[in-house]
């Protein structure tokens, strides 16, 4: 099968409008004959489900939390980008498009990114109409801040809780449709397989997490809005339940997986404090607007700080190494995430780290507080500072924060065409679950934008084109394909429950995570990746012989839930390593040590790697097959990314 991205013809800025015009429509009276399954209630899922129900489709929505409002999107802090140019600082749709393509290190599709920038402005209008309380100026108009990788202020925010407010907006729209009966809601229900009938996605198999019931749901199309897979690293900023199962199962049913090795390591997270650590906490990137990143210039000083004999505040100005400001004078502390993270790693590798493990750098607000006053800083970041203090027991108004990079976001995901359809007809992927718009590195405040763009403004159009070509006849959930998938799921569960080995699911998860972090994290090389490949194969074999899962299926069983997820993470980990091995270049978050410029920046190879790597599953004991979608750049010139 050749990959067809279905990018519309014509000039960049007209592609989306023309495409919308050319798409077939389902007439209003017919919409009620079509059923759509939406898995996930984050920004992508909730916005899609609400919008599709408003149009008249019958929607079934699923999430594994006890309420749709708790999807992981709720945790996003910093903000959402939109090319409104409300600050009159030279922003435009084209500039947002350009920044995103460049920020992604030229590994995203131009047409998708331009569409994203176009609809970004509608998102803000939509959210305000729903009552999302964005930050405002005294004059009553909306306020903006700037984020990494951009030189304009285009980020809209709601204190440090932007994701929460946007998600509650989408959740309220969804709730309104639940009340009308157009949406049927299934909480505490986990999708465990995708079902194809005659080559088309026609439904899913789920497990009721309270009773253990394995059930089938049929529909005319399935939307996977199930978020990212950062938890393959065990420690990440993702919510504990975030997982890859839905997309991985779709992958095994024929959906190609795009750029799995593209992960984002966020520079500003609270460092690891001990072996008990269950997750990492992000300190929003917006802090880099006012905080200055530094380490001691001399190893001796760093050593004293690590031992506790020297305090950060006692170190004089010339003994501080503001490494981002010095190395990147024009962007300074606001360089993109991949650059900031890698530099933090480098200074810590040079033994300049400042916590007891030597794995932390300072983020210092001393100068900002001196300049603007503590109240101003409190108004901007109060809740983040509180959170920091609660976790670390240190007061960031008085002593600099300590931060270290952590896994945060996955640019990779299911490959989708311009219509957001995967390689399985009728199966779509939206939000972080797809690979689409961020290339090899996502800019801050662009994931919220993409999730809502996909859900509110893209899928409601593109799905019509697919459904209009399809008879409204339903497939019954008792169809043999559903029964077969149910049996497979039951068998997987029974196997896990009957192994009764010696190690817990968490032990395997931590082992896998450490391998991924050490060899497929911030820096990668051939030798390390080969080692990881072998270790993951061993972990997989051992897991299926020696894992201990307690209890039974017919109950609320969190041990079983985790086991099902970790089993899929192990397989995904192997594919990520494979993808990282094959991409013999450095770009964005994918830093191959063998490929760097003289001053240590990522060295792309546009001749050989300006493509999307899309992997096809061929069977459990077969190697996956690599397909390439060539990326064509007609509007931006590929240059060495420079933030100097």
């Amino acid at each position: 099968m050749t990959l067809d991205a279905k990018i519309p013809e014509g000039p960049l800025s007209e592609k989306w409008s023309k495409h919308k015009f050319n798409l077939k429509l389902v007439n209003p009276a017919n919409k009620r004959k079509y059923d759509i399954i939406v898995v996930g209630t984050g920004l992508a899922g909730a916005s899609a489900a609400a919008s599709l129900a408003e149009l008249g489709y019958n929607v079934k929505v699923f999430c594994f939390q006890d309420s749709p409002r708790r999807a992981h999107s709720i945790a996003a802090q910093g903000g959402i980008n939109a090319a409104k140019n409300y600050q009159n600082d030279g922003d435009s749709i084209y500039r947002l498009f350009y920044d995103t393509v460049k920020g992604g290190d030229y590994r995203a599709r131009e047409a998708n990114v331009h569409r994203l920038a176009e609809v970004s402005v509608n998102i803000i209008d939509q959210c305000v109409a729903q009552g999302v309380p964005f930050a405002r100026e005294y004059g009553g108009l909306l306020s903006n801040r700037s984020f990494g990788g951009a030189q304009v202020s285009r980020t809209f925010y709601a204190r440090g809780q932007t994701g929460q407010q946007l998600l509650l907006g989408a959740y309220s729209a969804l709730s309104r449709q639940v009340a009308t009966g157009k949406v049927k809601l299934y909480t505490r229900t986990e999708m465990l397989d995708l079902v194809l009938v005659d080559g088309k996605a026609r439904g899913i198999v789920t497990r009721n997490m309270v009773t253990g019931a394995i059930e089938s749901h049929s529909a005319h199309a399935v939307l996977l809005c199930t978020g990212g897979y950062g938890n393959v690293f065990f420690l990440s900023t993702n919510a504990m339940g975030s997982n890859v199962t839905a997309t991985w199962r779709a992958h095994k049913k024929g959906a190609y997986f795009g750029n799995p090795c593209f992960t984002q390591i966020h520079p500003t997270c609270i460092p690891v404090s001990g072996a008990h650590q269950s997750k990492l906490t992000l300190m929003s990137e917006s802090l880099r607007n006012d905080g200055r990143v530094w380490v001691p210039r001399e190893k001796e000083d760093a050593e004293k700080i690590r031992k506790g004999t020297l305090k950060a505040n006692d170190l004089s100005e010339e003994k501080r190494y503001y490494f981002l400001e010095e190395r990147y004078p024009s962007f300074g502390n606001l360089v993109p995430r991949d650059v900031a993270s890698r530099n933090a790693k480098l200074v810590c590798d040079d033994q300049l780290g400042v916590n007891s493990e030597g794995q932390a750098v300072y983020l210092d607000f001393r100068d900002a507080i001196k300049r603007d006053g503590e109240d101003t800083i409190r108004a901007k970041y109060g809740n983040l500072f509180d959170m920091y203090q609660q976790i670390t027991d240190e007061n960031p108004y008085k002593v600099p924060m300590k931060i270290y990079p952590a896994v945060h976001y996955t640019m990779g995901g299911l490959w989708v065409d311009y219509n957001l359809m995967t390689t399985v007809p009728g199966c779509y992927a939206l939000g972080e679950a797809n690979f689409s718009d961020h290339g090899a590195n996502r800019l801050g405040a662009s994931a919220l934008m993409q999730g809502l763009a996909d859900g509110y403004f893209v899928i409601p159009y593109t799905i019509g084109d697919y459904l209009a070509n399809m008879p409204a006849t339903k497939v019954d959930a008792s169809h043999p394909e559903f029964k077969k998938a149910e049996e497979e799921v039951k068998q997987r569960i029974n196997t896990l429950l009957s192994i009764n080995g010696q190690k817990t699911v968490d032990e395997y998860h931590k082992e896998l995570g450490k391998i991924m972090w050490d060899y497929c994290g911030m820096a990668r090389n051939e030798k390390g990746l080969q080692f990881a490949k072998q270790r993951i194969a061993e972990i997989k074999a051992e897991f299926w012989k020696n894992v201990k899962v307690t209890g039974n299926n017919e109950e609320f069983n969190q041990s079983l839930e985790k086991a099902l997820r970790v089993a899929d993470f192990i397989e995904l980990g192997a594919l990520m390593v494979e993808d990282a091995l094959q991409r013999k270049e450095s770009c964005g978050g994918h830093f191959r040590e063998e490929y760097q410029t003289e001053d240590g920046e990522a060295q792309r190879d546009d001749n050989n790697f300006a493509h999307v790597a899309a992997w096809e599953y061929k069977g459990d004991d077969q190697p996956e097959v690599l397909h390439q979608e060539k990326l064509v750049f007609e509007n931006v010139k590929l240059t060495q990314r420079s933030y100097k």
């Binding site: 803000i124 309380p133 405002r136």
Partner: protein
């Protein structure tokens, strides 16, 4: 530090349930409360016993999923969520009692996990502004005074955890409902539906079996997001106003 834990164990909603005692010997002060329970669960699993079920997801104090009643207080001794509570708030040798939220409207699912679907149904009854996707004006055409926007934001930060209900001797959901009503009452976008909204949400709240509000303020004292009692006063005014000027005109 060493701890004695007394934890509510209940197999499912039908089971009667009871307190069971566990000992933990090696708890570090830097652990979060939930990480402490992770350690217990790892030990139980290795012994082949059923780990303790509890709800959690973000572990950042924002999703509202975690929900433990610790030593007689929802979310424990500090005014934060359970996931943001750290073991440094406890002492070596302490005995800690851990129970689920207790309210008729929040039935226990298993052990410490409860069903808070009632909150979703209250929002479905009216906790929204009726606007379809794409049918909007430019965002800056609705200027909103900063003070008003900030107040609406304060109300909107409710995470739907249910601690207010667990704290209240009547298991009233007034603080939760009033936070949503306030957010939309304060904003110009929400004004059009204000009467219908408050009536519908209060009616659903009663239907779900939450108790009456007797203004003791236990809810606000325990709310991890510091949702203020002012919101309840506003809800009462809105409700009265809606009833007095009924027919929704």
């Amino acid at each position: 530090m060493k701890l004695t834990l007394k934890i509510w164990r209940q197999k499912n909603s039908q089971d009667k349930g009871k307190m069971v005692e566990y000992k933990l010997n090696d708890v570090s002060a830097d652990m979060s409360f939930l990480e402490m329970l992770d350690v217990l669960n790892e030990e139980l699993t290795l012994k082949g016993e059923d780990p303790v079920a509890f709800d959690h997801d973000c572990r950042e104090g924002i999703c509202g999923m975690c929900s433990l009643y610790i030593n007689g207080k929802p979310h424990g001794p500090k005014q934060t969520t359970t996931c943001q509570l750290h073991m440094r708030s406890f002492n070596d040798g302490d005995t800690i009692y851990i129970e689920p939220w207790r309210a008729k409207a929040f039935p226990v699912v298993k052990d410490l996990a409860v069903d808070r679907g009632a909150f979703d149904r209250i929002i479905q009854a009216g906790g929204y502004i009726s606007v379809n996707t794409g049918v909007t004006v430019d965002a800056n055409e609705i200027p909103i005074a900063k003070e008003i926007a900030d107040k609406a934001f304060d109300a909107a930060t409710c995470i739907g955890c249910g601690a207010c209900v667990a704290a209240c001797k009547n298991a009233s959901a007034m603080l939760f409902v009033s936070a949503k009503v306030s957010q939309f009452t304060l904003l110009p976008q929400g004004k059009a539906e204000r009467k219908r909204r408050v009536e519908a949400m209060v009616e659903q709240m009663d239907e779900e079996g939450f108790g009456a509000c007797t203004n003791t303020g236990a809810c606000a004292a325990e709310c991890p997001k510091e949702i203020s009692l002012e919101n309840i006063a506003r809800l009462n005014r809105e409700y009265l106003f809606a009833k007095l000027t009924s027919n929704n005109v």
